[in-house]
Amino acid sequence: MSWAEQLDARSCVLLRLGDRRFALAADQVSELVAPSRMFRFAHRTPGIDGVILRRGRVVPVCDVAEKLTGKRLTSRRYYLVSRRRNEGTTDWIALPVSGDCELIQADLTPAGPSDSPHVAAWLSHAGEVIEVLNLGALTPGMEPVDSGEGRAPIAEAHA
């Protein structure tokens, strides 16, 4: 049973992207940090701006605002560092947000078949109906990776 099916009052973090608010299950949120230096290197994955260093870990920065609101964020107030779980592994991704975040307790309504894949559930808060995000559908790399035909396997790290 996925967490979206376990419908009861849940802790969620409300986040602001431009003039809209979205929510993430609180257990997917690791921390909220002030924007720090972003490192960029050559890659081909759309949607990843670069990486930040957080507690010795390299965390990709993924701006989901364009997908959700149609506009890129003009100002980044914080990075919401979120956990993604996939087949027993956990990785972290930093979502730039444009305003303060808020921890709330809310009843969730499951997403329907006609909802977009990025919607895990819905919640109602302060007269507003808010999408609870499914990070796996919104950020890259949660599907099986195609390593390319004829490629030699990547050598394991020695260090």
Binding site: H43, R44, V51, P60, D91, P140, G148, I154, A159
Partner: protein
């Protein structure tokens, strides 16, 4: 009385790396992967120009005995703006020469972090992972990731035809009185 320690703390494993520049970006490569560093100038006359539209990042081939070594332009490989290259790394255990702008320094890395699963395209083949040096994140390139088997086969075919044509031309020249 002295006790023999039951467990020894293993020494941290480190790896010598070369930091190099291509199109103003810094990359790292294990120094074990680099067999030879040559100046671009030293290759004048030693390489054959190759123009295979399917592998535009390769413009030169070096003959090393029976082997053809293909010179990959690092900037084009990584999709960066072309820049004036000065050095070539001849890579060990591959048939790749890597055209780069210059060497920054040699150093040691103590930790290689796997690329996050969020990176899900060619970079997974390009890089062994990421390392952090002086609070900078540096991608560590995978020496096997510059040319696919398919690209090598294609280049072998093109280079073979070129070399045959060159041999035919030189024999014609010899026959001319």
């Amino acid at each position: 009385m002295r006790f023999t320690p039951m467990h020894k703390t293993p020494a941290a494993r480190t790896e010598q790396i070369i930091l190099f520049r291509s199109s103003s970006q810094i990359f790292a490569i294990s120094s074990c992967s680099v067999q030879e560093v040559r100046s671009v100038d030293s290759l004048a006359g030693a390489s054959i120009e190759i123009d295979d539209v399917t592998v535009p990042k390769v413009r030169h081939v070096l003959k090393r005995g029976e082997r053809s070594v293909y010179v990959v332009n690092a900037a084009l490989h990584f999709g960066l703006r072309p820049s004036p290259a000065a050095l070539i790394f001849i890579l060990r255990k591959t048939r790749v020469g890597l055209l780069i702008d210059g060497i920054e320094k040699m150093t040691t890395m103590a930790r290689l972090q796997a690329l996050s699963p969020a990176f899900c395209h060619e970079e997974r083949v390009w890089y062994r992972g990421l390392t952090v040096l002086d609070q900078n994140v540096i991608p560590v390139v995978n020496p096997q990731g510059f040319l696919t088997e398919q690209e090598l086969r294609q280049l072998d075919a093109t280079a073979g035809a070129l070399l045959e044509a060159e041999a035919a031309n030189s024999s014609e020249v010899e026959l001319t009185p």
